[in-house]
């Protein structure tokens, strides 16, 4: 095997070495729990024994052969061996997953995707630290076909929360392949926990450019920032000038982090939208979530404990 193209320079981690090292040890402990979980899901749906065998091979600290080639091969074969049907988790399984990792949401995963993530976890059991794990992800992503890339980025939900992975995350956000971007950005707790502010803002704004729904992004309120509010104001102005439509979820985001311009925009739009219109509904829903009392006052008092994501999912016709 030709090793030249395999060694990528490590991303300089921001954390002190000992902190990174203990985070990796901690992650290894959770990793085996997730692997058990994925194994149970697969056993219930397909030939789990083939999958289990591959994971064993991948975890062996072998000197012989080409361990990377084995990983490429098993990941490549997963759909053929296991099928591509939806995981279709039941309620108990969903709760189980969420208990192990808050925000972990495999509701749209397929069997082969779960297996591919499981294989990456299995192969990482013999790695010494997050930097090497990040290099493994680079290697897989750089040689990955489109569905492999999708699975790899979905897996971020379960990967270590380590700055060493930020560079790979940046590639997902940069991707021109919509489903690859979506695999990283939607329904995952990793981005909100790890992205720098500028990366977060790029990711959020790009969901509008890719016509993706925003509500499946986790941490919208927690990560809202004024800088993002400014970018959104410009985007709204740009689209308005061009006479183009906008995903109404943009009002929700703006209401979460309006600067001075944002306040004005929201009030203007509210005054100009006809009662009962789609946009008015969006504006009122957005206002209710705002941390600013003057914006909240734009909306009639709604029922408390409203599940915003469900409301937005119903309101937006934007499909992934």
């Amino acid at each position: 095997m030709n090793d030249r193209h395999r060694d990528s320079p490590p991303f300089p981690p921001d954390l002190p070495d000992h902190a990174t090292a203990s985070a990796w040890v901690h992650w290894q402990a959770s990793r085996s729990a997730w692997q058990d979980l994925l194994q149970r899901w697969l056993n219930a749906r397909t030939d789990g024994s083939w999958y289990a065998r591959q994971c064993q091979y991948l975890a062996l600290p072998t000197e012989i052969g080409r361990p990377m080639d084995l990983l490429f091969r098993t990941i490549g074969q997963a759909p053929r061996k296991l099928g591509k049907q939806d995981l279709a988790l039941n309620d108990a399984e969903r709760e189980n997953a969420n208990a192990l990792q808050a925000g972990f949401n495999a509701s749209r995963w397929s069997v082969d995707q779960a297996a591919r993530v499981g294989m990456i976890l299995a192969a990482s059991s013999r790695l010494p630290n997050s930097t090497v794990f990040a290099a493994l992800l680079d290697e897989l992503a750089n040689h990955g076909d489109i569905q492999e890339q999708i699975a790899l980025y979905q897996g971020f939900a379960l990967y270590p929360r380590d700055p060493a992975l930020l560079r790979r995350a940046g590639e997902a956000i940069r991707s021109g392949i919509r489903p690859v971007f979506a695999a990283f950005a939607l329904r995952s707790p990793w981005p909100q926990a790890m992205l720098t502010q500028s990366m977060w803002n790029q990711m959020i704004v790009k969901t509008f450019f890719l016509d993706l729904p925003l509500w499946p992004v986790q941490g919208l309120a927690e990560r809202a920032n004024e800088n993002l509010g400014e970018i959104l104001c410009d985007l709204i102005a740009e689209r308005t000038a061009a006479g183009r439509s906008l995903n109404p979820e943009i009002w929700r985001l703006l209401a979460l982090c309006p600067g001075e311009r944002g306040h004005t925009r929201l009030r203007q739009r509210h005054a100009g939208s006809p009662a009962g219109s789609h946009e008015m509904h969006a504006l009122q829903l957005a206002a209710r979530e705002s941390p600013h009392a003057d914006i909240r006052s734009l909306a009639p008092a709604g029922p408390s404990g409203i599940a915003f994501s469900d409301e937005w999912a119903q309101l937006t016709q934007w499909q992934e």
Binding site: M1, N2, H5, M68, D69, F72, R73, G76, Q77, P79, R80, K84, Q85, D86, R108, S110, D112, Q113, N142, H143, G144, D145, I146, Q147, E148, Q149, I150, G176, I177, R178, P179, V180, A182, A183, K206, F209, L210, D211, R244, S245, Q319, E320
Partner: protein, 357 residues
């Protein structure tokens, strides 16, 4: 003579006329020629219309270098009935200087290009291999052969190809044989590029090598055939593909004549469209011309659809259900919920120029 021709003869007889658009003089000979072309086209359209009902109109272009084509081409191909394309790995016109260029190329045809095709409702598959031209760079060839196993097992890889001979050098022979072994190891059919120079002997040598390596002809497509090679290729049990080039080499009419003579068994038509002068609609045009030649629908369907599906479906990576009834996860991620069966239009967001950002 048709009514229109009669009318023209009466109007102009041996006189010349002025072209209505540019004012140039049209001789009677030119007028007759124009007329012949118009009638020819009309005949094709009628024949094609007779062909379409009930046939589903589905086509496969099993050899298309789509990374060289525009979105206009994708739209036109989809409109012509192409439901699937196979993109074989080949050279890029410009020789590559390092293995990283190959890695990125293989990743492109298994990655971004698949996504691009899906936006137009076309399923994209590929063949992975080291082409004979670049096999002549020994050091590079070794590095590429090393990296091939990473790609051969991937989803949507339906063959090892295009491989074979170009100048028939020793280095080409070496890479060819190594890849035949890889095809056996990965249980892949092979797509053969036959040399354009010294074609007849090169094609024979290709088959000799395949057989010396114990490769099953029933799992191998020999491409770029012509009247001189077809018989031996079919006799020896291979699939026999014809690339339709717009001006030279194999044209639509010649293909129709070959199908008339040899029947549709194991014959495949493709466009091999790339950066050069080539026609991404060659498969649908061939279907039309075969219909005009009076070939029956079942025969035509076999040549423009079923044969390719059969041989490139051998490793299970390309199935009719992929476009008729795709897996939910593929519909969600790649096809925007579309399947040919349900007749949905492919999702190409006309009003959003930012989709690829």
């Amino acid at each position: 003579m048709s009514d229109i021709q009669h009318a023209i003869e009466e109007m102009f007889s041996e006189r010349s006329a002025a072209c209505p658009c540019c004012g140039a003089t049209l001789s009677p000979e030119m007028l007759r020629d124009l007329l012949r072309q118009a009638e020819h086209l009309q005949g094709e359209h009628q024949a094609f219309r007779r062909l379409t009902p009930g046939a589903g109109g589905m086509l496969i272009d099993p050899h298309a270098h789509m990374i060289a084509r525009t979105t206009d081409d994708y739209e036109a191909m989809a409109a012509s009935g192409v439901v699937a394309v196979i993109e074989p790995a080949f050279w890029l016109g410009q020789a590559r200087t390092n293995v990283g260029s190959f890695v990125d190329y293989f990743s492109t045809i298994t990655g971004f290009e698949r996504f691009r095709a899906a936006q137009f409702g076309i399923r994209h598959y590929c063949a992975i291999g080291l082409n004979p031209k670049e096999a002549n760079n020994r050091e590079l060839a070794d590095a590429v052969l090393d990296v091939l196993p990473r790609y051969l097992g991937k989803e949507g890889v339906v063959a090892l190809g295009e491989i074979g001979y170009d100048e028939q050098t020793e280095l080409e022979d070496r890479a060819f044989r190594a890849q035949i072994e890889l095809a056996k190891e990965f249980d892949l059919p092979i797509m053969i590029h036959t040399p354009h120079r010294d074609k007849k002997r090169g094609t024979r040598r290709t088959m000799d090598t395949l057989e010396a390596c114990g490769f099953d002809p029933a799992r191998c497509v020999i491409d770029h055939n012509n009247e001189e090679t077809v018989e031996e290729v079919l006799d020896r049990g291979y699939w026999c593909a014809f690339t339709i080039y717009p001006s030279t080499k194999m044209g639509n009419d010649r293909l129709a004549a070959i199908v008339e003579r040899y029947g549709p068994e194991r014959i495949i038509v493709d466009s091999a469209c790339d950066w050069g002068v080539s026609d991404p609609l060659a498969v649908s045009k061939s279907a039309r011309i075969m219909a005009q030649h009076g070939l029956d629908e079942a025969t035509i369907r076999q040549v423009v659809y079923h044969n390719a599906l059969k041989v490139y479906g051998l490793n299970g990576e390309m199935r009719e259900t992929d476009w008729l009834d795709p897996a939910p996860v593929d519909q969600r991620t790649l096809y925007g919920g579309n399947s040919v069966l349900r007749g949905q239009a492919p999702r190409v967001e006309q009003d959003n120029p930012d989709r690829i950002v």
